[in-house]
């Protein structure tokens, strides 16, 4: 196997050296946060922990956790650790109940994030001879900007396509011989299907690799994409709260993602007790940003259920590996790469004058997520005019799109046709088989 590293010294560092590096960074980072983030200082004070108690990674477990609820409470500046004058960027997620997660970056933060993405691209075989087509969304979503920056660092000719407009994607891909494609796996599958329909055989497609993430996908879907596009498909993991894509990335072995643990320290905890679990245990994934300056989250609970492994990897990297997340400890759904919480649907329904009784049905048809929301018609809104009812469905779908960023198809059903809570309400029917 070829040994392609972007930052070899870090990526192949011995476990001992890595631990030393992480320890030094953590001690510094805890001081930085304690001095500059009153919100977290209060959490530490409540727990009776001071920066002096943290002498190395072995003391990390003493620190309090941060959750999505903390991010909401502290919105927008409460977890900011640098003056705004030193920040150069924000990125954001769609947020629960209308409140988004806003993450801040200094120039150093952007650099380290892009380094992480560069490691992913190089691990997928990328060099300055490659043409990298970035078909993740650009904007507040971290996908586009992250891979774009990583691609620059590697020196690839970067095609900043953003998502959508498949005809144009295909035109650029074929005319300019794109060799690496970065997007969500479902969009990669869709591009593949479209190319196939247009008569392209895998050997006619210039691509050699793809870096796909931001939504759950299966091994079967991977093989499918690899066959249709004639490429090797690599997984990538990340979240806006820590930086974006590139927190972990896959190598040629395709047996889990190497965590960039010099920047993001990973722990697995018991989601009930908060206790740290030994390597190989299944539990909730928790990240500590060791280097982030502007938005340095310590012990952030991702809600992703995961397993870590330090088994030797044939690629030579010593970075700890995380399995594909196996589920969530909360009710968050990832639909077409977007985080969706059922509570967001509820908020829209109440605002629009509907009963908060609904059912979300998610499926995957031809590798694309379908997203339907069943809602009950109300007495007040009922009319004998079909056109008005269809307009109501459309306007409800629009309100949900504004909240979530993706468009559901809304069905207004007869009253009482969706089971009530006392009758064990099933709010989410996820028919996708992803694990």
């Amino acid at each position: 196997m070829s040994k392609n590293y972007y930052q070899q010294e870090i990526e192949t560092m011995s476990a001992e050296e890595m631990r030393k590096l992480q320890s030094e960074k953590l001690v510094k980072q805890v001081k930085h946060v304690y001095e500059n983030v009153p919100y977290y200082r209060n959490l530490m004070d409540e727990k009776g922990v001071t920066p002096d108690d943290i002498k190395g990674i072995e003391d990390l477990h003493k620190l309090p956790f941060l959750t999505k609820a903390d991010l909401r409470d502290a919105y927008p500046y409460g977890l900011l650790a640098k003056p705004l004058e030193e920040c150069v960027r924000i990125q954001s997620t769609s947020g629960t109940t209308g409140r988004r997660v806003v993450a801040f970056y200094t120039q150093n933060d952007v650099n380290l994030w892009e380094d992480c993405c560069a490691r992913a691209i190089v691990a997928a075989g990328g060099t300055n001879k490659d043409v990298c087509q970035v078909a993740y969304g650009y904007g507040l979503f971290t996908g586009g900007p992250g891979l774009n920056g990583g691609s620059h660092k590697v020196g690839c000719l970067t095609l900043p396509m953003s998502s959508g407009n498949t005809e144009r994607q295909i035109q650029f891909m074929t005319d300019l011989s794109a060799t690496i494609l970065c997007c969500t796996p479902s969009y990669a599958a869709y591009i593949g299907e479209t190319l196939k329909e247009q008569g392209y055989k895998p050997e006619d497609i210039p691509l050699k690799a793809g870096i796909f993430g931001a939504e759950p996908w299966t091994e079967e879907m991977r093989r499918n994409i690899e066959e249709t596009l004639g490429i090797k498909a690599y997984d990538i993991y990340g979240l806006t709260e820590t930086s974006g894509p590139g927190v972990a990335f896959e190598c040629e072995e395709q047996t889990g993602m190497h965590v960039n643990e010099d920047h993001f320290y990973a722990e697995i905890i018991d989601p009930e007790t908060g206790e740290v679990l030994p390597e190989g245990s299944k539990g909730e994934l928790v990240f500590t940003s060791l280097d982030k300056e502007a938005f340095p989250l310590l012990r952030y609970r991702t809600r992703d259920i995961c397993v870590l492994s330090r088994k030797k990897c044939s690629c030579g990297r010593t970075l700890v590996k995380m399995a594909k997340p196996m589920g969530r400890t909360d009710d968050m759904l990832i639909i077409r790469g977007v985080n969706v919480f059922p509570s967001q649907i509820e908020t829209v329904l109440l605002k629009e004058g509907y009963e908060p009784n609904y059912q979300i049905v998610v499926d995957r048809v031809k590798n694309n997520d379908t997203f339907e929301v069943n809602v009950e018609m109300t007495n007040e809104k009922f009319t004998d005019k079909l056109s008005e009812i269809i307009a109501m469905e459309k306007s409800l779908a629009n309100a949900m799109k504004t909240m979530l960023g993706i468009n559901p198809s809304v069905h207004l059903l007869a009253p009482k046709s969706i089971a009530r809570s006392e009758g064990k309400a099933v709010r989410v029917v996820d028919k996708r088989k992803l694990v």
């Binding site: 018609m377 007495n379 009922f382 009319t383 004998d384 005019k385 079909l386 009812i389 269809i390 069905h411 207004l412 059903l413 007869a414 009253p415 009482k416 046709s417």
Partner: protein, 143 residues
Amino acid sequence: MAIKQLTVYVQNKKGSMAALTDVLAKNGVNIRALSIAETEDFGLLRIIVNDETAATKILEENGYLIKVIDVVGVKIGDKPGALTAALSVLDKADVNVEYLYAFMARTEKHAYVVLRVEDNAKAEAVLEGSGLHLITSADICKL
């Protein structure tokens, strides 16, 4: 003058219509006219019955979503062009028709048209003004 129309929300799935008509039948409600508009998800059943008060009560008790509205009924000749003539009257008076349905008389050489319009009073006035006969719920029950 008007006719009472019941609109009932029916899920578009196997057996839902039969369940509804069964409820009406068991309570002695006779359907005199019927029309349905449907989508993939649901149907809007519009009916004129012999006793709308009883029908409304029964359906509501059985959990159906119902809306009772006034529609306009008009008697037209059973011959080509009769419907066009009636609709032209409304068109000239700028009365917009949302939807309509029609049924035949059993004995007379006539047809009856039920019209859903925005302005019932205006529609009735211009139809009568053109010499057409309006019909009421009572007329329909006697048919």
